[in-house]
Symmetry: D2
Subunit: 166 residues, 4 copies
């Protein structure tokens, strides 16, 4: 991991928020492994992690993380006005802004990440299942999509590197 | 305008928020007129307004409005944590989530709205100039892009209708 | 189905191309049923079909269809220059323009369609499995994503209507 | 510029096609300068060029270029079927697939590139004006948007670097 001292405040905050909300980079690496294992022989979890590190170094990604998770936290604190508050607390199916913010993460490594995102969003493996457990007073409407999007973006980056292109 | 009694809470809230933040539908209609006047002879402001009404009837658009403006208001109340708070209050150029949310509005009427959005975002005619005046303690980071996006989407709809296609 | 006489040339061509490439609207309706059956009690295939009809009436969707399938056909005729020809004939995983064109279809009914698209793109139920069978000289690189995108867009429309919003 | 010997066939082809269609990297650098000059003191054209080089090294960007320009060339050769042929030759305002392909270029460096793209697409400075001159038998429907998108993406990259973030 990057040396925290040299990390700028936005990147530092994005990484802290993931951790505070119960998501370790290792959990996201497991999602990347789940998505890419069948395409890359001898894929190592360290390689998945290294790609996640690069995804998290992008400003676009950091801004999506700190905005989305902020909305989750503000909803839990009931500081959001109605009817948005109920929409967020219920993770309303027609809402869509959570997906929109997730796409800004995926887009950074191109369109091939979208199918991976859609797939794990339906399958909910590993940490995604845990994030989606319903607990009274907990709102993970954005976190869910952000974590899936980071995994999808890291998968795209890994696929590009494996073919030796940027 | 739609009969308020039969309007659902999300649509009602989206329309109220625009008004509360100083944006009348007439102001957005002026932007549509500014963008489309040269392409449509005898374009009437009523026609611009009618297209805005239809854009505002879309759930995707309503959700973008109530989420973006909520973030502006929460920033003014200093209920957002740092460093996102400073990013929003300064309308930081590299932020990008405001544009992301604006695109979800434009997308509903297709890609041809993007150039109109980019154009008025740089030119800042009419209400957009007013929204962008700097006043201490006022945050219009999202409102700015949302208003431009509604105008761009209504312009796309108008252009499609003029050619008799959906 | 719409009366062909009153259909404009672009819509007519888009519908013809799907048929010529072996895709009936009924096949796409089966995909919508596959995606939405668990969320809507007593969902009828006619309802799926009606939503597909509306998706196909959008100009943005028609343009995506006639452009993508044209590229498939030109690749089969070897009228495309290298290295794009090989990329298309092999449905190269890093290509991405096929997904890009698919998104312009999904976007019309909002971001909630993306996860459905990603899911069936990985699962390949029904017609999608058939389209993806490898046959010498056949190129369905774009068709595959277009059909999945129409199904995902129709699913979004159906979900919106079920909640009585546009 | 990159050593051609070590360039892969897709990158090589993308760069050749721009040149063949009359667009030098220097022309795109002038667009970046036009967009960014007011924000960066002492901006050098070499810096604009360096950012364009990096944009062109992205596989997503290369694929968008070789696909879009291929469609322009096939339209000129009348190898595209109707009504798409007429749509492309006339650069029909409601078409939209050209913008869609342009966005896949801009997206790689995040949403802040969209307003720059929309702005120069309306203003048509420098090479964009030349590309848009109407000459019988010439089709630059995609080239136009691709060149604007490369300039917008390079501007985003430059803006990110200037603030010392990725």
């Amino acid at each position: 991991m990057k040396d925290e001292k040299h990390m700028d405040p936005i990147e530092k905050r994005a990484r802290e928020l993931l951790k505070e909300r119960g998501v370790e980079l290792k959990d996201i690496a497991d999602l990347v492994y789940y998505l890419q294992n069948k395409y890359h022989e001898n894929l190592k979890i360290e390689e998945c992690l290294a790609n996640i590190e690069r995804v998290l170094s992008k400003r676009e990604v950091q801004n999506a993380i700190i905005t989305g998770i902020e909305l989750d936290i503000l909803a839990e604190k009931k500081l959001i006005s109605e009817p948005l508050l109920t929409t967020l607390l219920n993770d309303e199916g027609l809402y869509g802004v959570d997906e929109i913010i997730a796409f800004s993460i995926i887009n950074v490594y191109g369109s091939i990440g979208f199918t991976n995102y859609g797939y794990i969003d339906k399958q909910k493996p590993g940490i995604l299942e845990k994030i989606n457990e319903h607990h009274e007073g907990v709102c993970n409407t954005f976190l869910d999509d952000i974590v899936g999007a980071i995994a999808a973006a890291a998968s795209s980056r890994l696929a590009h590197r494996a073919k030796n292109v940027e």
